[in-house]
């Protein structure tokens, strides 16, 4: 077992009286790739959003790189600086050029000079295969290109962990693979990743650990061979048969 990057211990969360997360226990080792799937409303996005404090959990512990996530602003900032996030809706800043989207964080949050930040931004744009779009605005790019810019934006902060919240769900089918290719490259380079997705081909290729959630619980988890080969729970079997049908 490699060093632990993320650890969730008995995490619970309620929206009012609605119990969204029920006793979530999850360990992600450094360099590991965890793929979370499950029906909508199962709490899978919420788990990811709790890891960088976009949502607050009410009970249990979340540790990132050994630091516990509490209400203390310093701990939240510390963890956010190590955790990058890629959203379903990209959430690029539409009023800024691609380059400015990438350099805003490094310049304002990290105090880098403009020149350093731009160098870094161009380096990561190269890695997501769109070095020539730096001066454009997000609205001028295709969905797939926008999501790759969003990935590059996260990488510019050089995080230890990258979270993906359904990164391909808002994309047209022909653009999904260009985003997944970038994610596979990242996985192969050893990035620690937690990915919420229904792309099971991607999951088989990169996942070290598969997680199936339903109704706020982790129903099943295990290495992909086991998970896809012989799912134990009925709910997971049913879910997999539904999404793998096509």
């Amino acid at each position: 077992m490699p060093e632990t990057a993320i650890e969730l211990v008995g995490v619970n969360k309620w929206y009012g009286t609605f119990h969204v997360l029920k006793d979530i226990n999850l360990t992600v080792g450094t360099g590991q790739k965890v793929v979370i799937c499950g029906p909508s409303g199962s709490g899978k996005s919420t788990v990811v959003r709790c890891i960088n404090r976009l949502e607050e959990h009410q009970k249990g512990q979340i540790l990132v790189d050994g630091v516990e996530l509490t209400n203390d602003a310093a701990s939240v900032n510390r963890i956010r600086s190590e955790v990058g996030m890629v959203f379903q809706q990209f959430n690029l800043f539409p009023h800024l050029t691609v380059l400015d989207n990438l350099t805003l964080g490094p310049i304002k949050a990290r105090g880098m000079t403009k020149k350093e930040a731009e160098e870094r931004a161009r380096h990561y744009l190269e890695r997501v295969h769109i070095p020539d779009q730096a001066e454009k605005r997000p609205g001028q790019l295709s969905g797939g290109q926008q999501q790759r810019v969003a990935i590059a934006r996260s990488l510019c902060m050089e995080p230890k962990v990258l979270l993906f919240d359904e990164p391909t769900s808002a994309l047209d089918p022909e653009m999904i693979s260009e985003v997944l290719d970038v994610m596979v490259d990242l996985a192969n380079e050893g990035m620690t990743m937690v990915v919420v997705t229904h792309e099971m081909g991607f999951a088989r290729k990169v996942a070290d650990n598969m997680i199936f959630m339903d109704a706020g619980e982790i129903v099943e988890h295990g290495p992909p061979e086991e998970f896809f080969g012989a799912p134990r729970s009925e709910r997971c079997q049913k879910f997999l048969s539904q999404i793998l049908q096509h």
Binding site: N77, Q89, N91, P94, H95, C156
Partner: protein
């Protein structure tokens, strides 16, 4: 100026004369000596109307943002500061507020041992700015809240603090949506500045009133007064449309 009026006023005069003889445009006929002096007298209020409006709007734009900020808080006691201010201020009619500021406020200052005279100029500005700030605050709040939540979430995940995300991510986007209603408010301020005439500020309306008293020609003088406001507002509208085009051009 004299040329434009020489062309347009006779048209008005003609249209008036054709229907009946109730119009007496001679009072502001730029071709006659008295008429021209009267016109210059009326227009001499323009400077103060513009100055009062611009200063009041500037204060209101800053004050409104400061009032809007607590309205965006997650904590309700802080949000209440915003609610109380907005509900209280916008419920006060402008004229009573003007009286209170001009006649009442100096008494409060005096009782505190402060000698702060409030002249009509600043009395009008304070009143207009405070009264308007409740509305600009609501415009800011609506504009900021209209920016998708994902934007501030993305800003957080790249390590920006709350004020950095406001400054670099949210406000630059919100300003495009805020600008048109804010321009409306400016037009509103220009028109409401007419109330300053009541406390003796010699702006457009006051000048018109003064001339009516000496010339007994309310119909013609107030008609010209209305046209003066019309011209002002049209100029502002054109300016705002230019600004909107310029800001919109680099959005996509």
């Amino acid at each position: 100026m004299k040329k434009i009026l020489t062309f347009t006023l006779p048209l008005l005069i003609l249209s008036g004369c054709s229907s009946s003889s109730i119009w007496g445009w001679y009072v502001i006929d730029p071709r006659t000596n008295t008429g021209w002096i009267n016109i210059k007298f009326l227009i001499s209020g323009m400077g103060d109307t513009i100055l009062i409006s611009v200063i009041a709007a500037t204060i209101s734009i800053i004050l409104g943002l400061l009032v809007a900020m607590p309205g965006l808080s997650n904590r309700w006691p802080i949000r209440m500061i915003n609610r109380v201010y907005v509900e209280f201020v916008r419920s006060i009619p402008l004229l009573p507020m003007l009286f209170w500021v001009f006649y009442g406020l100096p008494i409060i200052f005096q009782s505190m041992g402060l000698n702060v005279p409030i002249d009509p100029f600043w009395g009008a500005i304070i009143t207009l700015a405070i009264s308007d700030s409740a509305f600009t605050a609501e415009i800011y709040r609506a504009g900021i809240q209209s920016i998708p939540k994902g934007q501030s979430e993305a800003a957080q995940t790249i390590g920006l603090t709350y004020s950095q995300s406001m400054r670099y991510v949210i406000l630059p986007q919100a300003i495009r949506r805020i600008l048109p209603p804010l321009a409306n408010q400016f037009i509103y301020i220009v028109k409401m500045s007419a109330f300053a005439s009541v406390i003796g500020m010699q702006e457009l309306t006051r000048r018109a009133n003064e001339l009516v008293v000496t010339e007994y020609r309310p119909l013609e003088i107030y008609t010209l007064l209305i046209l003066e406001y019309l011209v002002l507002v049209l100029i502002i509208s054109a300016g705002v449309r230019w600004l909107e085009r310029r800001m919109g051009a680099d959005e996509r």
